[in-house]
Symmetry: C2
Subunit: 366 residues, 2 copies
């Protein structure tokens, strides 16, 4: 397979974690005989410094010619006082909007050796393996009219059938290649938009007889994500509920710093990025944790390129390195072995190597 | 003090828990020389059966002549298929709206002997003592226009300055008689209504120099309620965010079944009710847990009548009975002593007695 990837390192620890993830990507390419062509572009604060624009035209052009985007992180105190249009985050919002990346995937999976950092009891979270599918381009975030005077303010929660259908379809498709369970979250006892949402989920059901569907109210979902998170497989919801629930879910397993994400459109073109931020306070020290960005590369292989086996191999290697007791400084506990960003990524690459070698040995023995 | 209270037992376990709570209320009245006049009214399914109306006119009239309302719970399978206007829950929505009960108070406090039932690690939750103040009569739940066709649907999130000011003022006042910390939750990086909300909180600050104020985004609050809930004192937010966050917060300490709530208006008239539902499956067996309703009575004494000491005494007694190892069946663990609804309430009354007696002895010795 031959793929073009635009890499946008961004600000803070972005360049370090992205460099590590790209080295893992290239290692996987080598093992599995794929060619990944990498081009680098500017976004965020770095792009403001260089081009006076958090999302320069040349970056957009680069992305338009590629098959997927890998992003590090944007933002930092240097640009905090900038006007809205010259804020690093604006680059992120604009790129999602420009490429119509309506489906935001936020997986949360328990990693055994990280559970000690979870605020929840181990029994509750040890089997967590869920995927929140958040609608990313509609709802309250973009609805018109939106107005504010000194005396009143108004936002509009609006969804069209087409917007709901495409996100619901994508969630059904994800559920059928996972454990076959879909939880649709709404507030249908109160909101008209939720009633249409629920109606469309019910209409779509017939097309996915292999998927078991449940409806869940957003407030009761917020409870159950704490009391029984292992009960969820795929959770699909609108933009605002998805924002709240995906952030809530991100802290339950103690692995917030290692969570990847994807923002995808219907043709599987997508942008992949770690959930964590640019952490300017530790930037340039080589101590950042690259796991979230490496796992974002795995999501890219799976969701944009359909390389299921390669993605699973990266996920396995990442978990194995943690289980072997190797951590970056952020996750270190007494007795654990602390590695730099690049050393940690190298462990992952070695782990890929090992398994490749043992696979080859296996094959020659059979 | 002489107060009139309308008691609305409602459906399911409502009558049992309310009867227990009223007995505690009367015991407190006797000890502290207050007279509480109790009148009973119908609401919910029971009211539908008797009057074909989940909130009959005579119930409203009764409430209008009283100083506070104590409610059990409404709802049950018997009325689940009723049309919207004849659903038990409609009685609850209508009474809140009729009396303009805009301030919904949802306290969450760790009770040491119940922490074992928490999904969170004991260290994280043992010091939790927070109060969520939810705006209850505005926002997405009531905003116009609200429309739905087969092709699109729309809800409106609207707040006036007056609506925001009164809830923010009430939250500041609550914070100053607690630990002096107020967290205002919004989504000001996205929503116009949140920007007005944040502006008004900032304007109000000057009037409450004794209160420390922080702004927090709703998604990051959803995380921190899990990772560090003990950091919160009073949390104030709009209707939808409050719905989600108060339900999320309700499960963190393992004491969901014992949580009280209040819905209050500016003159301190209020409706008090347990957070739990009508639990029709155990209704009439005398095994329901009356703690949440008893603690709702404590809230009534504190917030509607200003009887701070009496309220604290009920809270102390409830905690003491739990700490002595007495539970109703829902909270029983191997080795705990299981009591019926009325036996448990009696333990609380005895606990009040004891302290009253020891106070008298103390006084006569001094
Ligand atoms: Mg968020
Ligand atoms: Mg709720």
């Amino acid at each position: 397979m031959d793929k073009k990837i635009t890499v946008l390192p961004g600000d803070g620890i972005g360049p370090e974690v992205v460099a590590s993830a790209v080295s893992v990507l290239q290692a996987v390419g080598k093992r599995y005989h794929h060619t990944f062509h990498i081009a680098y572009g500017a976004i965020g604060g770095t792009a403001i410094d260089q081009h006076n624009d958090p999302l320069p035209q040349e970056t957009i052009a680069l992305c338009e010619q590629s098959d997927a985007i890998l992003l590090g992180a944007v933002g930092g105190p240097k640009w905090d006082q900038n006007p809205a249009e010259l804020r690093p985050e604006k680059g992120l919002l604009r790129i999602r909007k420009h490429f119509d990346l309506f489906s935001n995937l936020r997986p949360v999976q328990a990693i055994p050796s990280l559970l000690k950092a979870s605020p929840l009891k181990e029994d509750i979270v040890k089997d967590v393996d869920l995927l929140i599918v958040r609608e990313l381009t509609g709802g309250l975030y973009f609805g018109e009219p939106r107005q504010r005077t000194d005396e009143a303010a108004l936002d509009t929660l609006v969804y069209t059938r087409a917007e709901i259908e495409r996100i619901v379809d994508s969630a059904f498709q994800l559920a059928r290649v996972r454990r076959g369970k879909l939880t649709s979250v709404d507030k249908a006892n109160v909101l008209e938009s939720s009633r249409l949402w629920r109606q469309i989920v019910d209409e779509k059901k017939a097309g996915y007889p292999d998927v078991e569907v449940e409806h869940s109210l957003v407030d009761s979902t917020a409870m159950k994500l704490i009391t029984n998170p292992a009960a969820y497989d795929v959770v699909v919801t609108e933009n605002m509920f998805g924002d709240i629930l995906s952030d809530e879910a991100s802290v339950i397993t103690g692995s917030l710093g290692v969570l990847p994400s994807a923002s995808i459109r219907s043709d599987n073109f997508g942008l992949y990025e770690p959930v964590h931020g640019s952490a300017p306070e530790i930037a340039g020290k080589g101590i950042a944790n690259p796991a979230a960005t490496i796992l974002s590369v795995a999501m890219m292989l799976k969701y944009s390129f359909g390389l299921i086996e390669e993605a699973a191999e990266i996920e396995r290697a990442v978990t194995a390195v943690f289980e072997d007791g190797y951590y970056t400084a952020d996750l270190a506990t007494p007795g654990s072995r602390v590695l730099t960003t690049f050393e940690w990524a190298e462990k992952v690459i070695n782990e890929l190597d090992t398994s490749f070698v043992s696979d080859s040995i296996m094959t020659s023995y059979i």
